[in-house]
C-alpha cells in the first residue's frame, strides 16, 4: 500500500528501533522483517533505509560494526544502544496513545451518522 511520506517519516524510526530491539540485524534483514510484520503491506524504497540507519547511528541510538556475513561478504550490522532502548520506550508510549486514540476514532467513524454525534459531547467534558 502507498503510504504518505510524512507518515512514513513518523513511523520509520520507531519501527526500525523496535526491529533492532529483537536483536542485532542488518539493512536487508530489517527490510525483510518490515515486510513480514506488515504482511507485505508496507513497501519501503529499500535504499531509503540506509540514510535513516546512519542518522540513528550518528545520534547514538544504534551502533554499527562491519563483520563478515555467513556468505563471506562484509556486512554492516546494527545493534540498539542503551540510549536507543530508552528512545524506543519513549516512542512506544507515545505511539500507544496515538494508536489507541486512532483505533477508537476509526471504530466510531465506521458508522458516522449517530456515533460521532455521541462522541462530541463526551469529548467536551
Amino acid at each position: 500500500m502507498e503510504i504518505d511520506k510524512d507518515l512514513v517519516a513518523a513511523y520509520a524510526t520507531p519501527l526500525v528501533l523496535a526491529i533492532l530491539s529483537e536483536g542485532e540485524s542488518y539493512g536487508y534483514a530489517i527490510i525483510k522483517r518490515v515486510g513480514e510484520l506488515s504482511g507485505g503491506e508496507l513497501q519501503w524504497t529499500d535504499g531509503m533505509l540506509y540514510p535513516l540507519l546512519h542518522r540513528l547511528e550518528r545520534s547514538g541510538l544504534v551502533e554499527a560494526s562491519w563483520r563478515a556475513s555467513e556468505s563471506g561478504r562484509k556486512r554492516k550490522y546494527y545493534r540498539l544502544t542503551a540510549a536507543g532502548r530508552e528512545q524506543l520506550e519513549r516512542q512506544r508510549r507515545q505511539w500507544q496513545v496515538v494508536t489507541r486514540t486512532m483505533k477508537g476514532i476509526w471504530c466510531l467513524a465506521a458508522d458516522p451518522t449517530d456515533q460521532l454525534a455521541q462522541l462530541t459531547p463526551a469529548g467536551e467534558k
Binding site: 529499500d46 535504499g47 531509503m48 540506509y50 561478504r73 554492516k76
Partner: protein, 455 residues
C-alpha cells in the same frame, strides 16, 4: 558462467555509478552493494533469472538520485570537499601517506638547506650583509627539493636525475663564482630571473624526467597558478603566526625577533614552497582550481580598467610620463594580462565554440597592447638618452617578449573568433612559448652580469 559474469559486470557498473555521488562514500556503497546482492540472491532462490533479479533488486533499492539526496541531507559536510590531511585518514591510501611523508621530508630538507650557510657565518636577516647572497641563491635552496619531490613521485629514471640536476648545479656554481659587488644591479637581476628559469626547468621533473609535451606544459601552468594561490594563503597564515609569536613573547619581556628572522621566516618560507606543491598535487582532482575562477572574475575588470585608461589617454592627450620604474610597471601589466589569458585557456574546453568570454579576452589583450605600445612609443624617443643599463635592457627585453606573445595571441584569438582556426592553436602557441621565457630568464640571470661586468 557467462551469465554470472554479466551479473558481476552489472553490479560493478551500478557501483561505479553510485560512487560518483558525492554524498555517498565508498563504505556506504559497500553497504548498499551488500543489500543489493542479498536481495538478488533471495530472488534467485525464488526462481528468477539473473537479469530479472538484478532489475527487481535495483528497482526496489530506489532511485539513486533520491538516495544520494537523502545521504546529502544526513551528511551535509560531505558536500564540502575535505582535504586529505585528516588525521584518522580512513580514506588515505598508503600511496597518499607515502607522498605526505615525502613532501614533509623534502620541506624539512629545504628548510635545513636554508640554514646551511649560517654554519659558515652567513646570517639571514633584513640588514645582514649576506642578504644579497641569500637572494641570489633562494631558488637553489628550495627548487631542487621541489623537483626531487616530483621526480620521486613520478618515479623518474637514472639519466633523468642527471639532466634534472645539471642546470641546478651549473647555475649554482656560476652564480656563486661571479664576483658581485655589494650593491650590484646585475646581482639583483640574477636574484629575480634565476628562480623563474629554474621554476620552468622544474617542469622537466614534473613531467617525470621527459621534455614536457604540450599537455604537460599546460598542466605545469595550471600547477603554477594553483601553487601561487596556496603559497599566498600559507604565507598569510605564516605571517599571522609570526606576528602572534612576537606579540606573545613581548608580553613576557622576551624578544623573539631574532629567532623569527633567522629561523622561522627563512625555514618556513622554504618549506612552504614544497608543502604548497604537495597540496596542489593532492587536490588537483579533488577540488575546483582557483586560478581560472579568479581569471573569470578579474578579466572583465581589467579589460574595463584598460579601456577607460586608453580612453582617458586619448581624451586628454596626456603623454605617458616616462620615469625610471615605468617600464617595469608596464611589464607587470603585460605579465598580468598574460596570466589572465593563460589561466582562462587552461580551464577552457578546447572543443567549445567561441563565446563572449573569448571576445572579452581579445579585447583585454588588444587594450593591453595599445597601452604598452603607447608606453614603448613614448620611450622610444628617449631611449638613447637613457643609455642601456642592465635593468632597462632586462625590462625592455621582457617587454618585447611579452608584446610578441600577446600580439600573436591577439591574432590567434581573432582568427579563432572568426572560426578560422581551432582553439588548440592558441593553447599550443602559449605552451610553445614557455621555453622562450625560461631561456630569457636564464640569459638575464647568467649572461647579463658577465656582459655588464657585475655592475
Amino acid at each position: 558462467m557467462t551469465n554470472r559474469e554479466t551479473l558481476e559486470e552489472k553490479i560493478s557498473r551500478w557501483r561505479h555509478y553510485l560512487q560518483r555521488k558525492q554524498a555517498i562514500t565508498p563504505v556506504d556503497v559497500d553497504e548498499l552493494e551488500d543489500h543489493l546482492r542479498s536481495h538478488i540472491e533471495n530472488l534467485l532462490g525464488a526462481g528468477l533469472d539473473e537479469d530479472e533479479a538484478f532489475l527487481v533488486a535495483v528497482k526496489r533499492l530506489g532511485s539513486l538520485d533520491e538516495i544520494s539526496r537523502e545521504f546529502a541531507v544526513e551528511y551535509s559536510e560531505r558536500l564540502w570537499k575535505q582535504l586529505v590531511l585528516s588525521p584518522e585518514g580512513d580514506s588515505a591510501s598508503p600511496a597518499d601517506r607515502r607522498q605526505a611523508l615525502l613532501a614533509m621530508a623534502m620541506a624539512l630538507a629545504a628548510a635545513l638547506a636554508m640554514k646551511i650557510p649560517a654554519l659558515f657565518g652567513l646570517q639571514f636577516g633584513e640588514h645582514s650583509p649576506a642578504m644579497p647572497f641569500y637572494l641570489r641563491n633562494l631558488s637553489l635552496f628550495v627548487l631542487p627539493f621541489m623537483a626531487t619531490f616530483f621526480g620521486l613521485k613520478r618515479r623518474m629514471w637514472g639519466t633523468g636525475w642527471l639532466w634534472l640536476s645539471l642546470p641546478f648545479v651549473v647555475s649554482g656554481l656560476i652564480v656563486n663564482l661571479m664576483p658581485f659587488g655589494a650593491r650590484s644591479h646585475t646581482g639583483m637581476l640574477t636574484a629575480i630571473h634565476l628562480p623563474i628559469a629554474l621554476w620552468l626547468w622544474a617542469s622537466y621533473a614534473y613531467a617525470g624526467g621527459r621534455q614536457p609535451g604540450h599537455d604537460q606544459r599546460m598542466n605545469y601552468i595550471r600547477f603554477s597558478g594553483e601553487w601561487f594561490i596556496y603559497y599566498t594563503l600559507i604565507a598569510l597564515g605564516g605571517g599571522l603566526l609570526m606576528a602572534l609569536t612576537q606579540f606573545l613573547f613581548e608580553a613576557v619581556g622576551l624578544n623573539a625577533e631574532r629567532a623569527l628572522q633567522e629561523w622561522v621566516l627563512p625555514c618556513g618560507a622554504a618549506g612552504a614552497v614544497i608543502i604548497a606543491a604537495w597540496l596542489v598535487e593532492q587536490k588537483q582532482s579533488v577540488i575546483e582550481n582557483m586560478a581560472p575562477v579568479l581569471t573569470r572574475l578579474f578579466s572583465p575588470l581589467f579589460a574595463a580598467l584598460l579601456l577607460v585608461f586608453v580612453a582617458a589617454v586619448v581624451w586628454t592627450g596626456n603623454p605617458i610620463n616616462i620615469q625610471r620604474e615605468v617600464l617595469i610597471g608596464f611589464d607587470l601589466l603585460l605579465v598580468l594580462v598574460l596570466g589572465l589569458i593563460l589561466y582562462s585557456i587552461s580551464a577552457r574546453d578546447p572543443q567549445a565554440p567561441p563565446g563572449h568570454f573569448d571576445a572579452l579576452q581579445l579585447l583585454l589583450v588588444v587594450c593591453a597592447l595599445v597601452v604598452d605600445g603607447l608606453a614603448l612609443w613614448a620611450m622610444a624617443g628617449r631611449i638613447s638618452e637613457f643609455g642601456f643599463s642592465p635593468n632597462k635592457l632586462a625590462a625592455l627585453g621582457l617587454n618585447l617578449l611579452l608584446l610578441t606573445n600577446l600580439a600573436w595571441s591577439a591574432v590567434l584569438y581573432a582568427r579563432f573568433l572568426a572560426r578560422r582556426i581551432p582553439f588548440i592553436r592558441l593553447e599550443r602557441w602559449q605552451t610553445g612559448y614557455l621555453p622562450v621565457f625560461a631561456l630569457w630568464a636564464a640569459v638575464v640571470a647568467i649572461f647579463f652580469p658577465i656582459i655588464f661586468n657585475y655592475r
